[in-house]
């Protein structure tokens, strides 16, 4: 097996508070192989975005990475100085954000923002100018020459997201983290952006991590899915297995909550009763236990992530014993 591009070991993210510290991400471990496309799925507050911010080393107080290690191409990111880390951000690891409407500087021309993404990393002006137009063409912005002279408010949401992707891809990063890049867009534009990022990551052999709360969004995009709940990884398996043979009750309930207009046998919008745990709540044993229909006595002990079938799952109750 090749060396993983990104290797997270036993990551703990802690929220410092006057009343005491709360762990929000509870010692997760995760490997991303070069060229792989990974989906990280979970509800708001499951710790998926915090994990990605920890990779970028952009957690700011009161949040902090209190344990574990993150290695990129074998290099321990925690050991880097702040200026070395700036060389990683935007050059080796790029991130596409949730909200394209506000993620571009309103006072700078779009082209200049793509150019700056490169000049900030030492590319000279002429080269950056040339490559900016190329990158804007790559993200399929119409008429790059003209669009590069536009201000963000002159562009539509979809075009802004393309421009944002252009700033992220300007330096040919090896790892792209796409954190819900389509939540703010309407459905047709959403599909275009998803197709675009998939196309680009295939063409440029970019390893991509999709972070989303919507399983439906990533079904056709990723090779492997990591399901997070309450700051734990509860299931980690190839995408086919996640969709056809979910091993964790939470994964199963997530799938069941996907709207499916063709299926009359289900309520139009199924939901999982209860709510995810708050950071301040400590739940004995499995974090999903209070909402889980399959819970048994042994669920009062925290299950660890154990290999099962093609993947791994953290659950005491195998699917054949579900009610």
């Amino acid at each position: 097996m090749t060396e993983p591009l990104l290797q997270i070991e036993d990551l703990v993210v802690t929220l410092g508070a006057r009343t005491g510290d709360h762990d929000i991400v509870h010692g997760i471990s995760l490997r991303v192989q070069p060229g792989e496309t990974l989906g990280v799925v979970g509800e708001s507050g499951s710790g998926k975005t915090l994990t990605m911010l920890a990779v970028m080393r952009l957690l700011s107080p009161p949040l902090a990475m209190s344990r574990g290690s993150i290695r990129l191409e074998g290099e321990d990111l925690a050991a880097l100085s702040e200026s070395e880390m700036r060389g990683v951000r935007g050059r080796k690891v790029a991130m596409v954000y949730q909200d394209p409407m506000t993620s571009l500087n309103p006072l700078m021309r779009v082209g200049d923002q793509v150019i700056e993404a490169m000049t900030a990393h030492g590319v000279d002006d002429d080269e950056a100018r040339r490559r900016a137009l190329e990158t804007m063409a790559r993200v399929e912005l119409p008429d790059p020459e003209r669009t590069s002279r536009a201000y963000p408010h002159e562009l539509s949401g979809g075009m802004r997201q393309r421009a944002l992707i252009a700033t992220a891809l300007a330096n040919d990063p090896t790892l792209l983290i796409a954190d819900e890049p389509t939540t703010a867009l309407d459905v047709t534009i959403q599909r275009q952006i998803l197709a675009l990022v998939k196309h680009l990551s295939d063409e440029f052999h970019m390893t991509t991590v999709w972070v989303t709360h919507d399983l439906g969004v990533i079904a056709r995009l990723v090779d492997r899915v990591v399901v997070m709940y309450g700051g734990y990884i509860v299931e980690d398996a190839p995408v086919d297995q996640i969709f056809h043979a979910p091993q964790h009750p939470y994964t199963k309930r997530l799938l069941a909550s996907l709207p499916n207009p063709a299926d009359d046998s289900r309520p139009p919008l199924a939901q999982i009763p209860g709510r995810p745990p708050l950071p301040s709540e400590s739940i004995e044993g499995c974090p999903f236990r209070p909402r889980c229909q399959e819970a048994i006595e042994s669920c009062l002990t925290l299950p660890s992530l154990e290999p099962r079938l093609e993947g791994a799952v953290a659950c005491w109750v195998p699917p054949e014993r579900w009610g």
């Binding site: 700036r86 309103p106 399929e140 008429d143 002159e154 992220a168």
Partner: protein, 296 residues
């Protein structure tokens, strides 16, 4: 998907081009009057600066003392036979000199401290806050009075005194927007792209608060002109014989019943200038505020 398809899909919701700030300023009533009034006063100051006053503002002509307005002396003469119009024009220039220097100093220092305390976390914020609050506690006129009486009395001391008093205003006015800018997505996005703090500060934060600074500069100018006039009225401003609007009003206060023009002229110039600057400030604020886009 093809580029054409994208263009077709996205052309419809492209918002219309935004009007320029300048156009919107010209379109607003307060912007128009602000420009006209400040324009008149600045024109007078400019004429006097190049020596184009009708008479020498300082030389005395005792034979012509206390003449009413006439064709020879458009705004009459004062107790020493000096032309009131020429003196008012020169007075504007010296008031303006004080106000411009004072506001420049306080805008640069105040914005620097405000942005620093907003952008860099709590380490800088505490001490800066304390300092600002101390300065803020002084009544402006009192601090200026104290400084002007302790230091050598010239126009620069007056300017520095006013500058110190106005620094906290710029600190406050710039800090709050920097605090909220720091949390905006595009500043976070800049960090994600690996930009250094200095780059983010100078290329992304400062340009975004510039409109606020511009408006504050305009409004502070009017206060600074008034404070300068008040100080010179109290005899602490620009020393005589250089005319200043405040000292001209002071000299005229016993003549108001007999030679009203000696007080009316400098007073009127002062009012026109201050009202003009305030209107211009209001107009600029509206023109620079993106939320007012539709009702410009």
């Amino acid at each position: 998907m093809s580029v054409n398809e994208v263009a077709w899909l996205e052309a419809e919701d492209t918002p219309p081009q935004r009007e320029s700030t300048w156009r919107r300023l010209l379109a607003s009533r307060s912007g128009q009057w602000g420009l006209i009034l400040t324009g008149i006063v600045l024109g007078l100051a400019l004429l006097s600066a190049i020596g184009a006053t009708p008479y020498d503002p300082i030389s005395q002509r005792p034979e012509d003392r206390l003449q009413g307005p006439s064709l020879a002396y458009l705004l009459g003469t004062d107790l020493f036979g000096r032309d009131v119009l020429s003196r008012s024009m020169a007075g504007v220039t010296s008031s303006l000199q004080v106000a411009v220097v004072a506001v420049f100093i306080s805008a640069v220092l105040g914005t620097f401290f405000g942005v620093a305390s907003g952008f860099y976390g709590n380490r800088v914020r505490g001490p800066l806050n304390a300092l600002t609050n101390i300065l803020f506690a002084f009544p402006p006129l009192l601090l200026a009075l104290a400084l002007a009486s302790v230091a050598t009395r010239n126009w620069f001391t007056v300017a520095v005194a006013i500058a110190i008093v106005y620094i906290p205003i710029f600190v406050r006015v710039t800090r709050a927007p920097v605090l909220s800018l720091r949390e905006t997505d595009f500043i976070k996005a800049a960090r994600v792209l690996g930009f250094s703090s200095n780059r983010i500060l100078f290329r992304h934060v400062l340009p975004n608060i510039l409109p606020i600074v511009i408006v504050q500069v305009t409004l502070s100018m009017s206060w600074a002109v008034l404070t300068a006039a008040a100080l010179s009225y109290l005899g602490l401003g620009t020393p005589p014989p250089t005319p200043a609007l405040g000292s001209m009003v002071f000299e005229a206060k016993n003549l108001a019943a007999t030679a009203w023009w000696t007080m009316a002229a400098p007073g009127l110039v002062l009012i026109v200038f201050v009202v003009g600057l305030n209107l211009l400030g209001d107009g600029l604020r509206d023109a620079l505020d993106p939320r007012n886009e539709s009702n410009a």
